[in-house]
């Protein structure tokens, strides 16, 4: 296939909204949305602050099958309030994961895929967003007793804040080049630690440390996909098929403590240093 022909056949995943992304990953005709926007289960907290709410509170929960097996997808809409999680959106994700775990205890092998396009806690709902994220963490670890939980970070928002910890709890992570995965937003780091430490306007710098390619090269994510629906779908399918990983990344405290012990933390860090330090950390 020529390059232009290949380009024509590619469908950008990044350009899709949350609902379309969920639909694109599920087997054709199996998409069924829960608490769909027409039910208008919205934020109880935004209107009183003069913030216009979205009918699905920025989270899409869809059940269906992936390669013929049951799955629930939670997709965060990055375009609404930067994908930040409030009470309702957070409860949708946590509740879906909780029910998936319950399914497994009843013998139904429901898996979960999280489409993470999020800045973390929605500050207009602060403590309810934070509490919901703690619920999400709990539910991921619970479900992971039975099934892998796959996270996809595609961009352009990326995955930050408390939801980056959720990403770290997933069994597997798929990223694109556009993706970023980090705990703190660049602006907050710059504010707290200064411009020298972190220049929030230096995009190549930010991607060199927290972008998809670097996270893949350092073993902090599992698959690096092109921005293409078919490719991402394939990666997700393969990972689900693999079942639970032999080594859960978030269970590797000893390994990471050992690696960090080898690091001279005095000089400022470079991307290459991290790649060397974490060499072979992820099988």
């Amino acid at each position: 296939m020529t390059d232009s022909a290949a380009l024509l056949h590619k469908h950008s995943f990044v350009e899709l909204g949350a609902r379309q992304r969920a639909k694109a990953l599920l087997d054709a005709g199996t998409f069924r949305e829960l608490l769909d926007p027409f039910q208008r289960v919205m934020s109880p907290w935004l209107s009183r602050q003069g913030v216009v709410p979205q009918a699905d509170d920025g989270v899409v929960i869809a059940k269906g099958s992936l390669d013929g097996k049951p799955v629930v997808i939670a997709a965060i809409e990055g375009a609404f309030q930067g994908g930040s999680l409030g009470e309702v959106g957070g409860a949708k994700i946590a509740g879906a994961l909780e029910l998936a775990a319950e399914d497994n205890r009843k013998g139904i092998p429901t898996r979960a895929v999280l489409l993470l396009e999020t800045g973390g806690v929605r500050l207009q709902e602060a403590n309810l967003g934070l509490a919901a994220i703690a619920d999400i963490h709990a539910a991921i670890v619970d479900l992971r007793q039975y099934q892998p939980v796959v996270g996809v970070i595609a961009g352009s928002v990326g995955c930050f804040g408390g939801m980056s910890i959720a990403a770290g709890l997933c069994s597997y992570l798929v990223v694109t080049q556009e993706a970023r995965l980090g705990l703190n937003g660049p602006q907050v780091i710059e504010q707290e630690a200064g411009l020298e430490e972190y220049d929030s306007r230096d995009r190549p710098f930010i991607w060199s440390l927290t972008g998809g390619e670097q996270r893949f090269a350092t073993g902090l994510v599992d698959r690096y996909a092109e921005d293409d629906v078919a490719q991402i779908r394939q990666q997700v399918g393969e990972l689900l098929k693999q079942g639970l990983p032999a080594n859960q990344r978030s269970g590797q405290a000893e390994l990471y403590l050992q690696r960090l012990a080898r690091l001279d933390a005095e000089p400022q860090i470079e991307p290459a240093t991290v790649r060397d330090l974490y060499q072979g950390a992820r099988s």
Binding site: E87, A134, A138, A167, I269
Partner: protein, 267 residues
């Protein structure tokens, strides 16, 4: 006068008198194995380490070493008690101003280190260990998600210095393009945005709020009172189970229950 809080350390010392110090962990973690009455417990606190190898984590922040260190401290307990019918309780003494903010932290995957901590605490809870979070100071954001928020029960001391939130006031104001005053005005009518512990309590996430006489340097009576409450919390966990469902039910969190109900109906 230090620029960091000493409450976590002081409460750790007061509660863990006579307990056996656990070695082999980062200096920013105070960990000891002891008893509350008959109940075997491991006390865990994150404290300031002015000599931390990571310069951005010297004031009690939860950074790379703290995240993975917490995971290790908890994993040890899970492994040691694996085949025991009686599981040790974990008492997370929480006084954490924030996660660590820095280039090294992001580059080396601080999000993954904090996930390690949350993972271990959650697995401990699922394995039947009672996990109690005791809030004696700040419980902020990612730091709290890593150390305390996976507890079965949360107990807070009533004091202006005890604060749960997703982001400090100044940063939150900047990010939401408001002034600190505007934020405080909003917080007065939007309970989840407020910084005080009583507003937090109205969300239904706390099991108990306790008043003490001397929060910085607890008296014997203070310690006795808190110890009693911790013991009761451990007993409550034994009766009610291993998940976080006890955090649901407050009227300020009604939507969280409603969403779960609807998901179940539509599942």
């Amino acid at each position: 006068m230090s620029s960091y809080s000493l409450r976590g350390m002081n409460w750790f010392n007061a509660l863990s008198t006579g307990a056996k110090t656990v070695v082999g962990l980062p200096a920013s973690l105070n960990v000891a194995d002891g008893f509350l009455g008959e109940q075997a417990v491991r006390f865990i606190a994150v404290v300031a380490d002015p000599d931390n190898r990571f310069v951005r984590a010297r004031n009690g922040e939860v950074g790379l070493l703290e995240g993975w260190g917490l995971a290790k401290a908890v994993d040890e307990v899970i492994t040691a008690d694996q085949d025991k019918p009686q599981k040790r309780a974990l008492i997370a003494i929480v006084d954490v101003p924030s996660q660590a903010y820095g280039r090294r932290e992001e580059a080396l995957g601080i999000h993954q280190a904090l996930a390690g901590a949350a993972d271990s605490y959650a697995r401990a809870r699922l394995a039947g260990h009672p996990v109690i979070g005791l809030l004696v100071g700040k419980a902020m954001s990612g730091a709290f998600l890593a150390h305390g928020y996976q507890a079965n029960r949360l107990i807070a001391l009533r004091d202006p210095g005890v604060m749960v939130h997703a982001m400090g006031k100044a940063s939150a104001a900047r990010v939401t393009l408001r002034s600190v005053e505007e934020l405080e005005t909003l917080a007065a009518s939007v309970p989840p945005m407020a910084y005080d512990i009583d507003s937090y309590a109205s969300l239904g996430l706390l099991w108990e709020t306790l008043s003490v006489d001397q929060i910085e340097h607890p008296t014997a009576a203070d310690v006795s009172r808190v110890t009693e409450c911790l013991t009761q919390a451990i007993g409550d966990v034994a009766e009610k189970g291993r998940d976080l469902s006890s955090r649901l039910g407050a009227s300020n969190r009604a939507a969280s229950s409603q969403v779960r109900q609807l998901l179940r109906e539509q599942w």
